[in-house]
Symmetry: C2
Subunit: 379 residues, 2 copies
Amino acid sequence: MADLLVIGCGLIGASVGMAMRQAGRDVLLADELPSTTGTAVRRGAGRPWDGSEEATVALIAVPPRRTASVLVELQSLDVARTYTHVASVQSQVQREIEALSQTPSVVLGGHPLAGRERSGPLAAAADLFVGRPWAICAGKDTGATAHADVRALVLDVGADPVELTAEAHDAAVAVLSHLPQLVSSALAATLVTDGSRGAVEPGLRLAGPGVVDTTRLAASDPELWVQILELNAHELAPIAKAAGTRLTAAAEALEALAGPAAPRAQAQATATLRDLLRLGNAGRALVPVKRGAREDAFALVRVTVSDEPGRLAALLTDAGAAGVNVEDVHVEHVPGRPTGVIELLVGRPDVGRLYSALDARGWLVMEPDATDGQRDLSR
Amino acid sequence: MADLLVIGCGLIGASVGMAMRQAGRDVLLADELPSTTGTAVRRGAGRPWDGSEEATVALIAVPPRRTASVLVELQSLDVARTYTHVASVQSQVQREIEALSQTPSVVLGGHPLAGRERSGPLAAAADLFVGRPWAICAGKDTGATAHADVRALVLDVGADPVELTAEAHDAAVAVLSHLPQLVSSALAATLVTDGSRGAVEPGLRLAGPGVVDTTRLAASDPELWVQILELNAHELAPIAKAAGTRLTAAAEALEALAGPAAPRAQAQATATLRDLLRLGNAGRALVPVKRGAREDAFALVRVTVSDEPGRLAALLTDAGAAGVNVEDVHVEHVPGRPTGVIELLVGRPDVGRLYSALDARGWLVMEPDATDGQRDLSR
């Protein structure tokens, strides 16, 4: 008996296969297109399934609209002890499975929060899930064995299992993934409109980290995202409307401030903007930025360096020698000049020690009393 | 004669002083509060101005609403050859100066695109402007000497001079800085609303880089940003309205898809979402992400490592030994496990060489044919 049977050898299915192979597991692969199965086999994701060999877990990695029917059809063949899937929206698939399946106790839905721009087995990677959350959504009938089997799979591929209901999952991804996508697209789309007025192009050199970070998601594949947004339309519609209403209210406040409004209307407009910015502060404070911790658990140490190969490595060697684990790094180059700034994100308790160690070794470090607790919000 | 006279010793004024001192220049400092001048002097930003000593350049770093009057008053004392300022919105200040000044030929507006959450001279840093754009907005009367003086100042503090008209500046920062701020705040504010429904908190562990990056600006200081948004209300209002309208249209399309709409209405709703996502692609493609270059100039190389001090340094040492300059680094930890993934951003031509070098030294590198050209858009 194999450890895993993967049905659907696209990006996710093939990546799970590769990760499980790397963990030493025996993996069977199947896809409706034999050429796709062949590519996944050549990428090292497993061996072809003969249609009857059994596995401990069957993982269905086909498009969400087909997930339930493929899973239930596979169950009728009785080829696995546990059945799971990777649908990016969970509630609807769970309802379909509960309606169709004879043995829902061996089914447990899952959703790896990982992906990339390209799809298909050629884009697959054994490390795709490393460090990423993998939602596990038990149904009302799910049994303990199915639970343990899927948890083990998630840990084997290096992901972080997060258990919650299908409804909580769909609500969470609506606000944490689908709304950021919509908002990023709406923002980036506005750059194009403004470009047609000729105003942006000469000023593009003024672009800073703010616009770079807020428009990153706008590069996503439209065809894939239309499907995802549609599947979660029920959860996403009201929060997208709320965000749109907030932005429109801010725009109207700005119109009042730009025009010859009465002092009372101007004061009200200012209050509208201030309230939005304050509520934004409160929302941002909820977001876990690193290792599940909030922003204020970390601090930045800034170092000015010469912009040449090896300097970043030397800096991190010295940080490591001080026993400080660097959580993240940001490099800022100086266009046309031989210097740059490196920002090291470290746990707050390590700031003083890192500063002293780097300063002692001759690095040009910004004094920590001026950076402690400050996230650089430069534009 | 000193090199620079700084009027206003807040974050920007004191940082310019510190950067110029580090470049070996003689700097005079003044602030309406003597205690602020004293703090800036102690931070190494320069020496106190006696009210009469002359300087090559006078830099006015006071709030934008007071910039023109302070600058023109200073001109009447004839203490400098060239006068500049750092107002974050340029057109209005330029009009005021042109109306009030006897000698507008020696005036040239500027705006360093740099800042941080905290204000005041204690937050100042000599490296604040390193690698950042510094807009230079000549008026119709600005002469060559003023131009050369301000350009030299900008280069001395390590910034990247970007010359454009005051109107182009204000239009550019509206779309590249002020609109991203508003959109980020509106998005983060929606997390709070949803939190009150109890839906977000259990799912917060599903938060990925997407929501972290898109809500970063939402942590900005509301009082500071109300002022900035108000000053550029004229430019910002129409594009904020356009972004709000796009988001609302997407929300209405989602409502149609969530409800029992006719097939024709559903098809139209899908088209609305697809058009927004495609326009977002086009907008994102305009944004310079690194050294002024677009996203497709770079590629990511992903390496799985043990999560301990020194591994990042060792990896970058090996990358440096291969002669590859790493443009940026992203570290992804695995919660509760001793491994992580490091993403190295490098120029596209370096990808193959870096992969071979790291692979030869035993690093667990993802094959470049699977990453080449792919920006990881995992949520």
